[in-house]
Amino acid sequence: MSETGNMNQNNLDKEMQQSQKAYEAQEYQQVVKRHSPRPKVLRNTIMAFVVGGTICAFAQVFRNLFLGAGLVEQDASAAVVMIMVFLGALLTGLGVYDNIVKVGGAGAIVPITGFANSIVAPALEFKREGFVYGVGARMFTIAGPVLVYGFLTSIIIGLLRFILG
């Protein structure tokens, strides 16, 4: 009887300690928040719009050129994607793309050039670890999750369409 009493008391103490610690962490977060510089949301948003828009405008130019050269719409789109992935990879290799993202943020991460950057950057970085454990294994460390959840989402949407439609 007394043993279970002790155990309950111990558990209670432990819980009290934990909640005290959580409370202190919360209080400290308030102090941290007070001194942390705010991200420049307006400037970042405008720059994302400008940089993202510029990348898309480039893609549109290529698309028009391909359509003008006589490619059908679907082929023109595929060709544009290839060109943009190539440009993203090239600019990453030249050490330029990370500077574009620094200014443009999501405007440069979301387009397919950013996807190319996320594959080429680790591939370059981990070349020292060899072509199998380095380039091969690390290439998709950042793009991998995008692919996994992209596929998963497309499967779910496909199933929904199959069931509902």
């Binding site: 610690k21 959580a22 202190e24 962490a25 919360q26 400290y28 977060q29 102090v31 941290v32 007070r34 001194h35 942390s36 510089p37 705010r38 991200p39 970042n44 990453t92 290799g93 050490g95 793309y97 990370d98 574009i100 993202v101 620094k102 943020g105 440069a108 991460i109 950013g114 950057n117 996320s118 080429v120 950057a121 680790p122 370059l124 970085e125 981990f126 020292r128 950042i142």
Partner: protein, 340 residues
């Protein structure tokens, strides 16, 4: 057994304060262009330092710094009793590999960015305890090797938050000796690990500030001194955000930390786009070895308290949702050549 060397809860008072007879500092290009660029012994203009990987470059930084401190003192590596060194990379590969070529009896240390002060404290204990007459303490960090281990590949496009800090590329070595007069290590306060529950790996200043404040206040209580007793109290790499938090925390406990300096704030200027400032093992190491040692030798400062701050961050525990514990070790440097 008498225990006169320890005073208060966490502080050591050295009977015969070991002297820092020589220091060496080598930094990368960005640090060389910073406001303290002139104070370093050597600025390397290439991040690879003539090697083919960033890890090998970092190893060369620490190896060269240790060789340089030996050279400057015109002695041999074989005259050194112990080498105490560590770095940020997993299993401390920079220090271990450097030690393998130097052939000095070696203790590997990990205190994250507080490693330099940890090394100076332990080295001073070895000397004052009579176990050694010459000890080298050293550390290194490298922006690119740290980024690839802790965060993203260097060419990966990311927008760093304003609280983020820039890992200092460089290495420093301190030669401690029992003999000469000069700038000595009179007291040391060994820090406790403090976990304030910060989980953001891009906000190290916030993770470390409570540890720094804890160590400074404990030091002042243990020694019975006040803030004004020191010409300067310096923290390792809290950065601009962490320093502001530390001043706030100190204020809450009745201490005026508004004059606190921070090596991470000093090493870069605002035009260098590092956001909150510098960080990394080399941050407090090269700023102390260069700037502060020069100021102490010149007599501009007589007595300073340097608190090395380390965020004990691990990618594994951080990804598993754990908070980032931190530690801070304090060292009192005094110039014994200029008596009061």
């Amino acid at each position: 057994m008498s225990n006169t060397k320890k005073i208060g809860k966490q502080t050591i008072r050295f009977d015969n304060p070991p002297v820092i007879v020589e220091t060496a500092s080598i930094v990368g290009p960005k640090e060389g262009k910073g406001p303290l660029g002139e104070t370093f012994d050597r600025v390397v203009d290439n991040m690879y330092f003539g090697e083919n990987s960033f890890e090998k470059a970092e190893r060369k930084f620490i190896e060269e710094a240790i060789k340089l401190v030996v050279e400057k003192q015109k002695i041999q590596a074989s005259d050194i009793d112990f080498l105490l060194a560590g770095d940020l990379l997993n299993q401390m590969i920079s220090a271990n590999f450097a030690a393998s070529t130097l052939g000095i009896p070696f203790f590997g240390l990990y205190g994250a960015c507080s490693t330099m002060m940890e090394g100076i404290i332990l080295g001073s204990m070895l000397i004052d305890g009579g176990y050694a007459s010459k000890v080298i303490a050293g550390t290194s960090s490298h922006y690119c090797s740290a980024e690839r281990q802790y965060r993203f590949p260097v060419e990966q496009g990311v927008q760093r938050p304003m609280t983020a800090q820039w890992t200092v590329t460089g290495a420093a070595a301190f030669l401690l000796s029992a003999e000469a007069q000069g700038v000595n290590v009179s007291h040391a306060t060994v820090g406790k690990v403090v976990d304030a529950g910060v989980k953001d790996p891009h906000d190290m200043g916030a993770a470390m500030a409570p540890a720094a404040v804890d160590t400074i206040i404990t030091h002042l209580q243990d020694t019975g001194r006040d803030v004004g007793y020191y010409d300067l109290i310096v923290t390792g790499d809290l950065g601009a955000v962490g320093r502001a938090i530390a001043a706030d925390l100190g204020n809450q406990q009745g201490y005026d930390f508004s004059q606190l300096e921070d090596c991470g704030v000093l090493i870069f200027d605002s035009s260098q786009d590092t956001h909150a400032g510098g960080s990394g093992c080399a941050c407090s190491a090269v700023v102390t070895a260069g700037h502060f040692m020069q100021q102490l030798r010149a007599g501009k400062y007589k007595r300073i308290l340097i608190v090395g701050t380390g965020a004990l961050l691990s990618v594994t525990s951080s990804q598993q949702g754990e908070s980032i514990p931190a530690i801070a070790h304090g060292v009192v440097l005094e110039n014994s050549k200029n008596p009061e």
